[in-house]
Symmetry: C2
Subunit: 210 residues, 2 copies
């Protein structure tokens, strides 16, 4: 029974993700979501207090499927600080496209909805910890220049890895995902590890026909 019939909340969350992940989709209303779920609009409110809560639940639902931590903890096993930074940038950078649909919907309401803002900030704070850990690894092995403030270096790495930066380069400028990763990695290594060698190859990947 539990294997054949699908739970209503699950149906709703699945439909929501499907709507959100359609590339170039307009942001769905509660009616859109209900229709896509094959359920009445009120049934949605029966399981989720409101639109924001539903979006946040969709985030968690998606995280369960993707298993964020698996990829990110991999970066924790890297030996050198530089390798660790590299692994973290790659892991997170490749994670962004998976969450972009939902992220976009949440970001769209972030400055009108305090609850959404809080949820997003928490998520970004988690990511920032990864940045901080990478920075600390660099500092520990002496790759990070002595005069730079770790806090500030973390802020910068966090900004370079922001969803907005990914959005700019891949969605607006039409960059290839691989190209984005290479560039962002080069930028991070240049800024934090002063790796001039990394810079040489930055921006050297084939330009997609814009």
């Amino acid at each position: 029974m539990s294997s054949t019939t699908i739970d209503t909340p699950t149906k709703i969350l699945t439909a929501t993700l499907a709507l959100l992940e359609r590339p170039g989709a307009k942001l769905p209303t509660m009616s859109d979501i209900a229709r896509a779920s094959g359920v009445s609009r009120q049934a949605v409110y029966l399981h989720f207090p409101g639109r924001t809560d539903l979006l946040i639940a969709a985030t968690r639902f998606q995280d369960m499927q993707n298993d964020v931590n698996a990829a990110l903890t991999a970066s924790r096993s890297a030996t050198s600080g530089t390798e660790r930074l590299d692994a973290f940038v790659t892991a997170w950078g490749n994670y962004i496209p998976k969450i972009y649909g939902v992220a976009r919907a949440i970001l769209a309401v972030v400055d009108t909805d305090a609850e959404a803002a809080a949820a997003w900030n928490t998520r970004m704070a988690d990511m920032r910890e990864g940045c901080a850990a990478a920075v600390q690894a660099l500092a520990h092995e002496g790759t990070l220049p002595a005069n730079v403030d770790p806090e500030q270096a973390t802020d910068l790495l966090w900004t370079i890895l922001s969803v907005r930066t990914w959005e700019n380069l891949t969605q607006t400028c039409g960059w290839d995902q691989a190209c984005y990763i290479d560039t962002v990695r080069g930028l991070a290594l240049a800024a934090l590890a002063q790796d001039v060698g990394a810079l040489t190859d930055v921006l050297a990947c084939p330009d997609p026909p814009a």
Copy 2:
């Protein structure tokens, strides 16, 4: 007469800017704007077709007062490519805080309103030209590595200088404006001019008490 009495459209635009530039303000409704203008809500519609049009008009109104081109053309007179990049980054970076209030309001409706998106894209395309010119100046004097694609370098500079990046560093991370300018300049010089010297001082400005 024309000096004592203020034009209604001007009153509306002035009030709109005042609302938009209040730090941390929630996005104003048409009623808010009318109230702040000391005018009826319908009077606003009498002069502006809709909310988006009003925001776009506010942008232009603000540009008249600020005179963008003055600061940006200054960067055009720089002799070396590196100096030019430097001047452009400084000019634009210091311009962002002036337009942020309005930019925030427009960005908030950009993915639901095609007209707003078009206006914003035009504005950003103008800025991108400045980036392209700076990149070309670097390429001309040979500072830009030969293997990098100028288009891609422009995209990257454009992203580094985006309003979102400024927002992340100064609003979310609480950075000082001067610190933002220094960092972004260092990042640009590192990425495009491979200037290791610039990197040394990146992230060396005093951290504001977050």
